[in-house]
Amino acid sequence: MTSLPDPALPATAPVARIERFTLTERALHWMHASAFFALLATGLILYLPALSTLVNRRNLVKNVHIWVAVAWAVALVVIFVVGNRRRLAEDWREIETIDRDDRRWLRGRRAPQGRFNAGQKINALLTVAFALLFALSGFFLWLGERDHRFIFAGTGTVHELLTFLSVGLLVGHLYLALIHPSTRHALRGMTTGEVDEDWARKHHLKWVEAERLASAHEHPTP
């Protein structure tokens, strides 16, 4: 969504912005984030002995944990059904594509990046994989309690390992999104949907240029 210059505005127009995330993408991100924090909090209460002893509503906590997981899955389906599926497919295509520039970037070289840089792509790939594995192992933890034929040797281990790994990933994500000076502007993109074009040009050059080309096609200048 690039806005055409409005003649009514003064020449020193406010900073140009560029849309990075549609409502669908932001809904997906914040839905997942909320569910993750709720599941982490309830999960830790069940898992850490000190918290277990402290909180005397263990069955309630366990039920909340399970129902939040169910709500997460339902919300996921709802977002896919009513949201902008074409955009989500486009996101996934971009995330899966680790091109030459991404590989150079990952080796610590300077290389122009798309709408997602290589680190963000890996974060997204890990997040999706972890979420699916959390759901799978969690489902079998639940089912195994009801039917011992579904107790597998590593279900609990996988669920726990995922917890450790995703907390590590979350700490890095929060640092880059909230604290690190050159990346924290990205948080605006996930709240308002838009980022400053100057910032985007600096960190996601290939994306800004592709957008330019696309909008030139849509609105050819006379």
């Binding site: 263990r58 994989a129 192992s137």
Partner: protein, 222 residues
């Protein structure tokens, strides 16, 4: 392999590894326990123990009011304070603890009372064929046949790893039945009933095996 398959291969590889892990992943907390400092292992359960309960809050232990009631096929029902139990012949052992959900803790040091000594103290009648161990955490209970209960490594333990049994582990007294899965080792025991035949315990009513031999029950070598 094009740019897109790299990300996808990594993603699918991770999913596959996680799914395989459900069946084969070994408990990793043993490794963690050696790797992390004591201050961490006091918070995160790196010792390998997971705390499972069925109720909202763990029973609290008050030395002034705690009594272990022994009734059923006895001369006269009797109650024992923790001090009474400690006055009985003290047995010590080192044994492994295996949970049916896949984790194990090696070399746990226990101290407590052998079932044989308890039966002598209580004046068990002829015809006792089974013992029902009832937890203060309602409605948890489990039973052993007399023969199983008299195995040389079965005890009602009041010490674990050199300290009084902690609240999450079943303070003040828990059953220890190392040759069977942990759900047989009732925590927070406050009532032992001597009967003729073994009653189905809490998990057995949910379809788990009554004879929960480690490695040979719950469909393991079927």
């Amino acid at each position: 392999m094009n740019d897109r398959t790299i990300g996808r291969a990594g993603f699918l590889g991770l999913l596959g590894a996680g799914a395989v892990g459900l069946f084969f992943a070994k408990d990793f907390t043993g490794v963690l326990d050696r790797a992390v400092p004591k201050s961490v292992s006091a918070v995160v359960p790196t010792s390998g123990w997971r705390i499972y309960t069925i109720g909202d809050s763990m029973p609290t232990f008050d030395p002034a009011t705690y009594r272990l009631r022994v009734d059923g096929l006895v001369g006269a029902p009797t109650s024992y304070s923790l001090a009474d139990l400690k006055a009985m012949p003290r047995a010590e052992q080192v044994s492994d603890f295996h949970c049916v959900t896949g984790w194990s803790v090696q070399d746990v040091r226990w101290a407590g009372v052998r079932i044989k000594d308890l039966l002598e103290q209580a004046g068990a009648k002829d015809g006792v064929g089974a013992l029902r161990f009832v937890s203060a955490e309602k409605p948890y209970e489990d039973s052993l046949t007399l023969q199983q209960a008299l195995l040389p490594d079965v005890m009602l333990a009041y010490e674990m790893d050199g300290a009084p049994i902690s609240r999450p582990h079943g303070a003040p007294v828990r059953l220890v039945m190392p040759q069977m899965y942990g759900y047989k080792s009732v925590k927070w025991v406050d009532h032992v009933e001597l009967g003729v035949t073994a009653e189905p315990g809490y998990w057995e009513k949910h379809g788990y095996d009554a004879d929960a031999w480690v490695g040979k029950s719950n469909d393991e070598s079927a």
